[in-house]
Structure formats: C-alpha cells, structure tokens
Amino acid sequence: MPESLLAAAPYFGWDLVRVGQELFRYAFMQHAYEAGTIVALSAGVIGYFVVLRGLSFAAHALSHIGFAGATGAVLTGVAPIVGLLVFTMSAGAVMGALGQRLRGRDVTIGLVMAWSLGLGLLFTRLYTGSANLAIGFLFGQIFGINSQDVVVTFVAGALTVLIVIAVYRPLLFATLDEEVAEAKGVPVRGLSIAFMVVLAVAVSEAVQVVGVLLIFALIVAPAAIAERFTTRPSRGVLLSALMAVLFTWAGLTVAYYIPYPVGFFITTIAFWSYVVARFVAPTLTLPRRRGREPLAREEQALHSP
C-alpha cells in the first residue's frame, strides 16, 4: 500500500456513495477494480470446469510454470505477461494433449512445477538480486496495474469467457461423459487442448491479482464453493463467477483501508467461505442412505405377481 493513503485517513462509514467515491479516488484503485473484476469473472467461469475435470493441481502447476516465464521475460527485457502467457500456454497445450493420461501424474506435474519455481528463482537472481520482483509475481501486484494492463487484461479475460461459452455444451459433455461424447462426435481431444490453453490464459491473468502461489483462491475456491450449492451446471458456472468477483472486490476494498496485502485478504475470504460452505451447503449433504429407497421398491415390484 502506498504510504500516502495511510496519511489521507480514507473515509469509511454508512455513507455508501462517499465510500464508493473514496474507493475510486485513485487511478490505481480504479485499475485494480477493473482488472480484478474481469480476471475474477474469467477465473470463476473456467474454475468451474477445472474442479469438475479434476484439474486443480494442473492449474496450480500452470501458474508456477508461468513464474519461470514471467521472470525469464523480465530478464530478457520482454513484458512479463508475454513470458507468462508463452510458458503457461505451451505447458497447457501439452497437458491438454495428454488429456485423461494427465490424471494420476501428480509426481510428474509436481516435479515440473518445482523445477519451474527453481528456474524462476535463478532468473530473479540473475536480474538484479532483488527479491521484490519475485514477490510481485508470487503474491500478486494488483495495485501496480496501469491503464494499458487493464486493456490487455480485459481483452484476454473477455476472450477466455467467450471461448468457454462457445464450447460450453460439448465441454460439459466431454467433462462428464468422455466416452459417450466421443462416440457422439464431440472432438474430445481438441476440446481438452483448447480448454487447457484457455485455462493457461486465465491463470496468467489471475497471477496479476493473487500471484502464482495464491491462484487456488480465484480458480478453485469459488468453483468448489459453487459446487456445494448447486447441482445444475449453468448455475454452478454463474455462482462460481459471482463468488470470484465478490472475493476480489471484498479483498481489494479491505486492503484499501487496512494496509495488509490483498492476497492475504482474498485468500482469507476464500478459505473461510469454503469452510462455511462445507457446513451450510445443502446439496451434497443428503443422507447417504436415501439413494437406496427405489431399490427396495424395485424389489417389491419384482415379487409382486
């Protein structure tokens, strides 16, 4: 947080209009809200499919691979986002091509992830020896976003959401029922690659907000919570996106008033929301035995003349 803010004693109270004015008083806050919103929307929508496809760990690994890309880009004088995108999208395409074979490859993914972090560490050291660069990528730098970044983020974010909308039904089919989808002519492998590349873009965007290490808070947590509240895919996607946006707004707002890192607030909100969701979510807390009732009925039907 910039020092000047603390001195300014920002307004907070029941006058919500004044609170709004206060929050949007500085360009850096406007940019943070703008970029944060589109990033969260994209992360929430794609996150729903990440959780459904069991790709949480792969998404986590993608962000780490992006760390090597971002620091490498800085070292060679290229924009960090370019390095991030090149690395995550390449890795995403490979993961997508592996498709189902990616499952159960935790060790391989984990090793690639660790090596990427190691590479990033080397690149950071080679650059200036300063740890600030790495900290920014690792934990996010949403308050450092300029208006040009906002435009790039908006275009990338909108693109990812539009692509998911365009492939929504076949993607859902391939996710839930790969074999039948394939038989029905759905290009399962192509979708798998496309999805991982789109995920790579969403992850690269989200790294700006929460950083490489806290990516779970935006990609996985909102979707995991949404899946506890609805068994309808369309509602799940919308709820997941809404959650991600709320977490981001809440995190940014709190961080404006309390001079601790946004990443801390967003992850904290995400974590406790998940804990609360686990206790109150109605959908998946059905009693175990209820599924057996119709069986008993079938048996009766069988014995009746």
Partner: protein, 267 residues
Amino acid sequence: MGRSSSPAIVADGLAAAYADRLIWRDASFTVNTGEFVAVLGPNGSGKSTLLRLVLGLLPPAAGTLQVLGKRPHRGNADVGYVPQRRNIDRDLPIRGRDFVHLGIDGDHWGVAFGNTADNHLRVDQAIQSVQAQAYADRPIGRLSGGEQQRLLLAQALAGKPQMLLLDEPLASLDLRNQIVIAELVAELARANGLTVLLIAHDINPLLPVVDRVLYVAHGGVAIGKPAEVITTEQLSRLYDAPIEVLHDSHGHMFVVGLEAESAHHDA
C-alpha cells in the same frame, strides 16, 4: 427379430485390431432390426472392441461392416451408447437429469438459447421411460448402481436412437437388479423398435429376454440362439480348450473350464 426390413448390422469377414495386435477375425454375422443380442465372452476377448467398431471409433482391420445400412461413423445419432462405467464420483455435483440432457444437445456448440421447452420435455419423457422420476434431480454420484444405470440408459434414449449399444450395464448390480434392468431394456427395445447389443458376463439374467447370443472368444466370433451357442461342443471349439456347459433345474447355464482362459486374458 424376424422383421422383413433391412438388417441393423452386417459384418462380413470382419477383423478388429489395436495397432498391430489382432483381437479377433473372420467375423461374419447379421443382426436383424429389433433384435436383442447379448455379447458374451471372457475379459479382453474384444467385446467392447466390437462396440467401438459399430460406433465408428475404430476402423475394421479387415472385412466390411454395415450399421443401419451405412458404414459406421462417429457421431451417428441413430446409435445410442452406454459405455462400461467406472464408479461415478460420489461428490460429482451434477443431477442425473443433466446427464440425460447431454444425450439431446451435448454435442451442440455454445449454450442453449431460446426455446428449450422441447428439450426439457424430451428429457422428462426419457426419465419417465426408465421410471427414474423419483431420483432424477439428485446428484448422480449419490445414486445406487441400478439408478445410475437407468439414467444413463435414459441419456442414450433421449437421443432417439434406432440402436442401443450397452457395455456391461449389469456389472456391479445385484442379481435382482440385473434382471430388472435386463427386462427394462427389453421392454424399451420392444416399445421403440430398437436393436440392442448388450455386453454381459453372465447370460442367465438375460435368458428370458435375448433373441441371440454373440460369443467373442479366442480370436473369433460365434452367433446363434443361447441354446445353440452356449453348448459344450460350440464353446470348446471356439476356445480350442475343454469347456463344459452345465444346466440347473431352472434352465440356467453355467460355463465351466474358463478360469484358466480368463486369467490368461486378464494378464
């Protein structure tokens, strides 16, 4: 069976192979429209491979195959398919109804827009036809094996197919449910004029409903009525090993002598 219309499946000198590995060959048979055929044979003999050929997911290694008068091709809306199912994740947050819906428009691009009432009606009808109304709105992972099997059957039916390919739909069901599901499939096939190929391990729950049996074993295929194919002589010849078929007082058939053969194929 016995209808005058053109046959549903015609195989002539058909062979199946993965890469260089030949699974079976010299399969020549005809499945008539509306016929209920049980596909039997030991593990790894190539029963699922036969379905993959009919679905057009695997090209024939040799010979010809006609499905509903055409060469098999992926995305054939006339063929409904229920693959062999690993356990559905208990926590999968998706209703059975949504699975059924995918059978109608899962292969369409984009999101559903405009008048979706028609599709919802078709989903309802498919769910009713398998009598799954009571639990279609529950998360599918929380249902029993029999309930899941009904909903997956409804998914295949929702696409209004002419043919059903069912890969081990009776596996992991208790005997009573095996009979219930087998009868349900037969009833639906009769009502809708469907041709059915159903892979099973045990012929007995299917005996009251099947027309013929297609036996896949030892690199070859044999087809005929259960009493013709599942005999000591036929199976011994097919397996090229001493096999014995026993009958109990209810007319059930038991194939003995396959233990070594199955173990060999599993390996």
